[in-house]
Assembly symmetry: C2
Homo-oligomer: 358 residues x 2
């Protein structure tokens, strides 16, 4: 299982009733104003999307606080990963991380060097220092998936200095950025605005609850943006994603509401999970939580929960994690409570306990 | 100008009034039933598209008359071109052809060998025979863009035999297939169904008038389909394109109506254009026509027409064509008549003739 969200393979269906804790989507759903915009945009299907994405890039640049020329767009964040992988011959990643940081360069025949995060899922500056060479691409999740941890501002600046010193390039995947807590709050685009060695990916998928629409965007130096546009697929962002980008990013009320809701639910859920024995719930900066099971394994827990209409993310597929790890999203209060109840049953009574509704 | 359809760069706007003869889209617009399906599909945005595209592939396989396991899908035909370019180290094309047959492999660092079509835009079997080696990918448009010509059945079979004999691979881009005239009518999927050395691309973009939705699909051997799925971007087909695929391909009435309309308009337009002196209008099998100007050049004609609200495709950007060529789409009867009227003025009075509405 390379990715979460595959409800169809597990008895769910479109709009089915399985509660999907395996993909990390804002439980509030997408901004309401999008519906009307899509309806109004049916006409746009008849023409190609703007091959230069002028309106979209203008909306993204306002949102990110950068120049339009510093924006690149893609068919989800993953296409931006793919294109940057094309531009470099060696890629460095720190595992565990999102599988596509490894898959995309490998598919393109590039060399991938995997450094391990330490026991607390922290990055070793020493290992980076020993590894990074001129022309390398370092890909880091910020916050990182599946660990949920964001780089401290000081560490990010140290890593960036190393990258500049070595004449390498840093690709920060910040697809979960908007979910981050204010503590140690910084905006990496603000921080690294003048750098020629950085690209910072953001996306509509997670925070704006639009995994189906396929909209990714990123900040980078305008010279790199030109290079990117020369290799990206033409029209890779569809007409509806183009419309969405011009509508959702200015919905300040939705953004504020979502951040408040997530912070509240994350704290509630973390508290409840930590009251369960035989389970470690790691600290997280965003909308998902990595769990270590001190009893059973991912398969047993997955099967137990899927029978109760809950899908979680097995985590042994992540390089560097074994079958004692699972990842769960923070969802609505009702869903979270139900998850905690079922998890409690698993750890109290074990997998032989039958679901009440069977 | 690598592609047509860039209305925004030329004073047009979303839904603006410029008549776009530069992109080859069905003038009847997309099937009506799509509107309702999109509305009903707003819920689908909240979840990832099916990572295996089961429902979509099932609909495509019914339409193409092949097995579901023989279908691959992509973010428009161009993503399928991109993925196949990844799988081969040397690519052979016959110019003039769609620019992405050359661009995609080059972007990926592959070698591209360009063979020239002969004066009548025909393929030389001799040149192919001298060139194709084991492991090569031959990409052919069928019908070919910008020439509009389809391979004769006999020639296609000869080319395929050569491909098999050399242990190479044939990628047929049939994005315009549905527009083809019945004369020498054959279905290449039916013809090459049992081959392990072929992929045949089709797409929703042109015939179903959906350039904005980004849906491409293709037939290939199921072993190749597995290989393709292992390298294609995850979720590269968005949720609306997924819905569209399950709705439009079974609209037999729309398909029949569009084919009739196109055949009629193409014949009318060809006849009218051929009555203009100093202009060669080449035979075409589909919904666009390549023109050779015997007076002036593409820039003069483009500027003349854009002042009259018409955008055509300059063709010197195609390898092997010079500035005496332009390409035009076949559009609605009214648009076609207006084009012919304006073209007539250009050739009669020259570029100094001012548009009536200035």
């Amino acid at each position: 299982m390379r990715h979460g969200g595959d409800l169809i393979s597990y008895g769910g269906c479109y709009g089915g009733s399985t509660r999907d804790f395996s993909s990390n989507i804002n439980p509030l759903g997408y901004p309401e104003r999008l519906g009307k915009a899509i309806l109004g945009g049916m006409e746009n299907l008849k023409t190609y999307p703007d091959i230069k994405y002028r309106r979209l890039k203008s909306a993204v640049s306002s949102y990110l606080g950068c120049k339009q020329e510093e924006v690149v767009v893609g068919n989800g964040a993953v296409e931006i990963l793919h294109c940057f992988s094309m531009l470099f011959s060696r890629v460095i990643v720190c595992t565990p991380c999102f599988s596509e940081y490894i898959e995309q360069p490998l598919i393109l025949g590039k060399e991938v060097v995997k450094l391990s995060l330490n026991q607390n899922f922290g990055i070793s500056m020493e290992a980076l220092g020993e590894t990074i060479q001129e022309g390398d691409l370092l890909i880091l999740g910020n916050p990182n998936n599946p660990t949920g941890r964001r780089l401290k501002k000081k560490l990010l600046l140290e890593i960036h200095s190393l990258i500049v010193e070595r004449n390498a390039f840093l690709l920060l995947d910040e697809a979960f950025w908007e979910f981050c807590t204010a503590e140690d709050g910084y905006d990496s685009i603000e921080l690294l605005r003048s750098s020629r060695n950085v690209c910072i990916i953001r996306a509509a998928t997670k925070f704006f609850a639009l995994p189906g629409i396929r909209l990714g965007y990123a900040f980078t130096h305008e010279d790199m943006a030109l290079k990117y546009d020369s290799i990206a697929l033409p029209w890779s962002v569809n007409a509806f994603a183009e419309i969405a980008g011009t509508v959702i990013l200015s919905d300040d009320d939705y953004i504020a509401r979502s951040r408040r809701y997530m912070e509240q639910q994350r704290n509630l859920l973390l508290g409840e999970l930590r009251s369960i024995k035989k389970l470690i719930a790691y600290d997280t900066d965003c909308n998902f939580i990595l769990l270590k099971l001190l009893k059973g394994n991912e398969n047993e827990l997955f099967d137990f929960l899927i029978q109760r209409g809950i899908m979680i993310r097995k985590a042994s597929g992540f390089d560097g994690l074994d079958s004692s790890f699972v990842r769960i999203a923070v969802k609505s209060e009702e869903d979270n409570r139900y998850l905690v109840k079922c998890m409690g049953e698993y750890f109290r009574y074990g997998q032989s306990c039958l679901p009440c509704n069977l």
